[in-house]
């Protein structure tokens, strides 16, 4: 399940919903990405996230389908926000549910790595001195995504 939305989400509520009324799930892994006050040596006061409506949905659906093909997953959820985000607020949520713990871990890790390098979102940071800075691609994200190439 994929959701792209402006409003904040509640990680706990999303996790609860995934396992509600089910007794076949053995493991649930969640990843929550948050707006933090410091990045690459800059003090941050907030974020603006731009995305490419339409393409974002397509890319996230492809990434989710790929994870279900690679691992035994009973359910998954990807939520990504756009718009203005305040410090400490959640940006992205990935949840995976599986009978097996390593499948849940690996799939969540993979989803985040691919999402970071494929989903058309762009972050700009408000810095403490009043500027807006477009965040640059990280080599570490490219390397992380490359791990999953078959």
């Amino acid at each position: 399940m994929i959701r792209i939305q402006q409003e904040a989400f509640d990680t706990g509520a999303e996790i609860a919903e995934i396992s509600k009324g089910r007794t076949d799930i053995g493991a649930i892994v969640s990843f929550t990405g948050l707006v933090r006050d410091f990045n690459d040596g800059r003090n941050i006061t907030g974020l603006v996230l731009e995305h490419y409506p339409g393409m974002t949905e397509r890319e996230l659906a492809k990434i989710e389908a790929e994870a279900h093909q690679r691992w035994q997953l009973q359910a998954s959820r990807i939520i990504h926000r756009y718009g203005n985000l305040a410090l400490g607020e959640p940006i992205v949520l990935v949840i995976t549910a599986s009978p097996h713990r390593q499948d849940a871990f690996d799939a969540a890790n993979f989803l985040m790595d691919w999402l970071k390098t494929k989903a058309p979102f762009w972050k700009s940071e408000m810095t403490a001195d009043g500027r807006t800075v477009w965040v640059e691609e990280r080599t570490s994200d490219i390397d992380a995504a490359r791990r999953w190439q078959k």
Binding site: G33, L49, E50, H51, Y52, G54, M55, R58, H80, I91, V92, M112, L115, K116, T117, K118, A119, P120, F121, W122, K123, S124, W134, V135, E136, E137, R138, D141
Partner: protein
């Protein structure tokens, strides 16, 4: 053709996008980029380094030169930084 710009491309070009007629002189993405580079100073700057401009045709990433036709949605954007 619908052209879209995102992130700092949008900021530098001061527009979200535009509609361009299909033209025989730019039948594919490579020739479209060359045409953009010769369009004026802001475009020249934005399209100067091909390595930092990603292209999607009809909401799919393209790798290498790709033919374009009337009705296509062509998006230009920097490497993604979500998550």
């Amino acid at each position: 053709m619908k052209i879209l710009y995102f992130a700092w491309l949008k900021t530098k070009l001061q527009m979200n996008g535009e509609t361009l007629p299909w033209a025989a002189e730019r039948p594919d993405t490579d020739s479209l980029v060359t045409w953009m580079q010769e369009r004026g100073p802001a475009f020249a700057e934005v399209f100067s380094d091909r390595d930092v401009v990603r292209i999607a045709v009809n909401q799919e990433y393209i790798i290498g030169n790709t033919p374009i036709s009337e009705g296509d949605e062509i998006a230009f954007f920097p490497p993604v930084t979500g998550g």
